[in-house]
């Protein structure tokens, strides 16, 4: 017969195959084709095609049509039942490997799930406010000396201007101060909570859920809205509405509303109570009396744009609102007003030269990638162990194939097994996550819960475990199912040397990731250590800082004398800012030889004469402030950075003018680290002043126990100022808080590194066990021939040690490159010394050798009689 050139149109054949009962489809198709070719020979292709179609259509009748689903299901169900049964038996048969697989995968999944929950929390930040996509913060850029800084603090009048002249673009324009601690007193209950002053529309803007009262509560100047948690502290189950509380010892306010606490993942989560903006203005009448209302930055401004508007467009529209209004000197800074949308507040908070460059989003990606890598490590374990065991299962595959199993069915079988493993691992991981979440929340300083009630969460979990199972099972399924039955069953089947290559590559990948993480952790910790050990220019030990109110200021000298006399303290001084922050920054400095176009802005701290003695700074040149010189009231002490910045050769006795008033430089001190310990020190000045004093700095006597000293200080302060709470802070603790972000990264990196190493070692252990088991006979024979335990141990370990060495060589440049980039973000940064690489590599080699030896020595010590007799 000639080759069938003509063939009935594919569509008809497909149609027929689709509706026909699968049991008889082949026979009837054969009949159809036979008739078709006969017709082709008799009357040509066209007529034959038509006849074929008619035949096919006439076959569309009961008895021939495929039964609805029943036939297929019946077969598949039993097949899947068999897949599960075989999968379960395989798991039970190799308990050790199953344990390593499930355990490793569970570990990886735990990390991935925790990171997933964390990322979800970060990415949905602020979205609990229904208007989040219409809310924005007003920011303005101002240029000085070629640098553009972006700030959220504005003149009060900016908000008024937006409200009056751009009213149609905004739904709400709200003034706000910053969320700061304030003292609230009701009866004998006196506590500090964080709260803020707002215009009344804030309640609508943030869609506060009111429990008592209404959102209009803030309309009255002397009113306050409390969060539910704060209301509970003061009033318990009582109805708080209408109660009068004392605020910061200077105003009485009436509770007009209680709102549900704002969600933890909101920028406003620390807003525990809301006071009226009117109250703030009435207490600071000078703001309205300023000669240049555009000259001072006093408040923040939040807006909600009108419903039909686009934040970007409004932002462009209001860009020139400041430059139009500021004074001539202000125009030099070229202020440009922009809107920073709420959806970007948390993740994109960094501005560099006026451009929004990112921020927290980088950490979100960093951790997201680490999570994927850790999970990948666990999947690699699974792949490695499955392919390593391939020889054992090769016979099974061969027999299944010769009985008639299709490759597709084998692939499904192996996928079933891997998905089973991943589902078990998922259940284990789920329990672990539930157990670890509280600790994790503490490290990450979050309030994450498992969203058990959301179906989308369960769907994600299901999808996650199935996808993980599929990824983990992909390679073994394709590899194992491709065996040729003839080769496998004849017994000549051997995994050739190159068969182990992918396995080796995977081990190298695993260890490269682990070693990189180890190096990363060490560098992060070194950077923290480096910054912590940075000379701060003063002594932090036993230094206590305390806020001053007018009453304490009035009795300052009396308190100081009393404490000094009984030996509790050495010195107590006044300062404008705490030792760890710079609250006051001034411009309008001038000196001889200053470039007139240059604009400067220095931290300029108001202190009293004892300041230097209290904090213990180091005088490099000149002298400290002294009460013996009356002229010290117009004198500056500079830090070294300021001397360098101004370019003074011999600074002592030189004159610097501030607001046109001449000040004499009397001394130079070593740089004090006041702001971030990672940035270079800003040029700073100190002057004597009794205004702008906010803080007392107290140097306790080192001979007195700090706890006793603190108690004593508290009692004396209470004596003179009984109504205010005593909130003393240790400066070293405050300083330590500057490291919390880096410490968190360090802790998480450490956690990842440990887990990565654990997973990799688990995988390695599995591989060694497998190799040792496969070579039991060889080891027995070698022993009989006289090999020592040391020889055998070396033989089994060498392969793995080489792989880890290769990983070291790959990870060193990788780690160096990425960590160098990370460090670039810090002005004050450590170098990456060679010993970090050496320690990490030697460390991981040692861990490898220990892991391998654990199994290798056991195999080497086996009695050859036993190992050779088996079978």
């Amino acid at each position: 017969m000639k080759k069938q050139d003509p063939f009935p149109p594919r569509a008809f054949v497909t149609l027929f195959r689709w509706f026909c009962h699968p049991r008889i489809v082949d026979y009837i198709e054969g009949d159809l084709l036979e008739v078709y070719y006969k017709r082709v020979n008799e009357s040509g292709k066209r007529k034959a095609d038509l006849g074929f179609l008619i035949d096919v259509l006439l076959l569309f009748r009961p008895g021939i049509i495929r039964p609805k689903g029943r036939f297929q299901n019946l077969n598949n169900k039993s097949m899947f039942k068999s897949y599960f049964k075989i999968g379960w038996r395989t798991l039970l048969k190799n308990k050790g490997y199953s344990f390593i697989n499930i355990g490793g995968l569970a570990l990886g999944m735990t990390v991935a799930m925790l990171i997933g929950l964390w990322m979800h929390d970060e990415l949905t930040f602020d979205s609990s406010h229904p208007n989040h996509d219409r809310i924005a913060q007003v920011m303005h850029l101002h240029s000085a000396n070629g640098d553009i800084t972006t700030t959220g603090s504005h003149p009060v009048i900016l908000g008024d201007e937006l409200r009056n002249n751009y009213g149609s673009d905004f739904k709400y324009v709200v003034h706000a101060r910053w969320t700061d601690p304030h003292t609230l007193t009701y009866g004998d209950k006196m506590f500090q909570h964080t709260g803020n002053y707002f215009d009344p529309q804030i309640a609508d803007m943030l869609s506060l859920k009111m429990i008592h009262g209404s959102r209009d509560g803030l309309k009255n100047m002397n009113s306050i809205l409390l969060s539910a948690s704060v209301a509970k502290i003061y009033f318990g189950d009582e109805d708080p509405i209408g109660k009068t509380m004392r605020l910061d010892d200077h105003a009485d306010v009436q509770v007009t509303g209680v709102y549900n606490d704002i969600a933890a993942n909101s920028t406003f989560n620390d807003l525990k109570f809301i006071m009226s903006w009117e109250l703030f203005m009435s207490q600071n009448t000078w703001i309205n009396e300023m000669p240049d209302p555009w000259g001072s930055n006093i408040c923040q401004t939040f807006v909600q744009i009108a419903d039909h508007n686009d934040i970007q467009q409004v932002s462009e529209k209001i860009g020139d609102v400041m430059i139009k209004n500021v004074s001539e000197s202000g125009k030099r800074y070229n202020p440009l007003v922009i809107l920073h949308p709420m959806d970007k507040w948390h993740l994109y908070s960094t501005f560099k030269n006026g451009v929004n460059t990112g921020g927290q989003i980088e950490n979100v990606w960093l951790f997201g990638i680490s999570g994927v890598f850790v999970l990948l490590l666990a999947c690699i374990n699974f792949m490695n162990l499955s392919t390593a065991q391939s020889e054992k299962r090769a016979k099974e595959v061969g027999i299944r194939k010769s009985i008639g199993s299709a490759q597709r069915q084998l692939i499904i079988q192996f996928f079933t097994e891997s998905v089973m493993v991943s589902v078990f691992a998922f259940l284990l991981a789920f329990l672990t996550v539930a157990l670890l979440l509280p600790d994790f929340n503490e490290i990450a300083s979050k309030l994450i819960t498992v969203p058990l009630s959301q179906p989308i969460f369960w769907l994600a979990c299901l999808g996650f475990s199935v996808v993980t199972g599929l990824i983990a099972g992909l390679y073994p399924a394709v590899f194992l199912s491709s065996f040729q039955p003839v080769k496998v069953l004849k017994g000549t089947f051997m995994t050739r040397p190159h068969g182990a290559l992918p396995r080796k590559v995977l081990v190298v990948v695993q260890f490269t990731i682990s070693i990189t993480l180890i190096i990363g952790t060490m560098v992060v910790y070194k950077q923290i250590q480096f910054a912590q050990n940075r000379p701060v220019g003063y002594s932090r030990d036993g230094l206590v800082s305390l806020e001053l109110n007018w009453e304490r200021k009035k009795h300052f000298e009396a308190i100081r004398r009393e404490l000094q006399n009984d030996g509790t303290i050495i010195e107590m001084a006044q300062s404008g800012s705490p030792a760890t922050e710079a609250w006051v920054t001034n411009a309008a400095f001038d000196w001889e030889g200053k470039d007139p176009t240059q604009t400067v802005s220095f931290p300029n701290n108001a202190v009293n004469h004892e300041y230097g003695k209290a904090i213990g700074w180091e005088i490099k040149e000149g002298r400290d402030f002294s009460r013996d010189f009356a002229s010290d009231s117009s004198a500056f002490i500079l830090n070294e950075a300021a001397v360098k910045f101004i370019g003074l050769e011999d600074p002592i006795g030189k004159t610097i003018r501030w607001k046109r008033k001449p000040f004499t430089v009397i001394g130079v001190v070593k740089d004090l680290i006041v702001q971030s310990p990672y940035t270079s020190v800003q040029p700073s000045l100190f002057h004597i002043s009794t205004n702008n004093i906010n803080v007392a700095l107290i140097r306790t006597n080192p001979k007195v126990n700090t706890q006793d000293a603190l108690a004593k200080i508290e009692s004396i302060f209470k004596k003179y100022n009984p109504t205010s709470p005593f909130n003393a802070a240790f400066v070293d603790a405050e300083y330590d808080r500057k490291f919390s972000n880096e410490k968190r990264i360090g802790k998480l990196a450490l956690l990842f590194a440990v887990i990565a190493v654990a997973i990799s070692c688990l995988g390695l252990f599995g591989l060694v066990s497998f190799v040792a088991e496969r070579r039991t006979k060889e080891i027995g024979i070698r022993k009989v021939m006289g090999a020592s335990i040391a020889n055998l141990w070396q033989m089994l370990s060498r392969e793995f040690v080489i792989l880890v060495v290769v990983s070291c060589l790959i990870s060193i440049p990788l780690a160096y490159y990425s960590l160098n980039r990370w460090l670039q973000a810090y002005d004050y940064r450590t170098n990456i010394p060679w010993w970090i690489f050496a320690t990490s590599c030697i460390g991981s080699l040692m861990i490898t050798v220990i892991t391998v030896s654990f199994r290798a020595i056991k195999a080497a010590m086996l009695n050859p009689v036993k190992s050779l007799r088996s079978e």
Partner: protein, 113 residues
């Protein structure tokens, strides 16, 4: 006809299988019936009948060799089971009884018209 369910068309098919004796499969049945009845029988009708009768247990099928003119698809041969034989025998006897019961005069009357 309570005892054996056998339709008229089915009866013809099962007898054709008997005629073809070991060579009965879809196409040969179609041709044999077509030439004896003098009209084209559709493939669908035949296969439906075959499937139905196999389900009833009158027929048994076994796969045959595959040939090039069928592009590799196997033939499906049919043979009559013992039950099938009983069924056509029963059908024939019933028919004969009916036939014999018709008085001869019926035909004569008809002829006289």
């Amino acid at each position: 006809m309570k005892k054996y369910q056998l339709g008229e068309f089915e009866e013809l098919v099962i007898m054709t299988i008997g005629i073809l004796n070991n060579q009965a499969y879809g196409v040969s049945i179609q041709q044999e019936m077509g030439s004896r009845l003098g009209r084209a029988i559709s493939m669908g009708a035949i296969h439906a009948a075959l499937t139905r009768m196999e389900d009833k247990g009158y027929l048994r099928s076994y796969p045959g060799e595959s040939t090039p003119d069928r592009v590799g698809r196997p033939k499906r041969f049919f043979e009559i089971t013992a039950l099938g034989k009983k069924a056509i025998t029963y059908s024939k006897t019933t028919r004969d009884e009916f036939w014999n019961a018709i008085p001869k005069t019926v035909f004569q009357t008809k002829l006289s018209h």
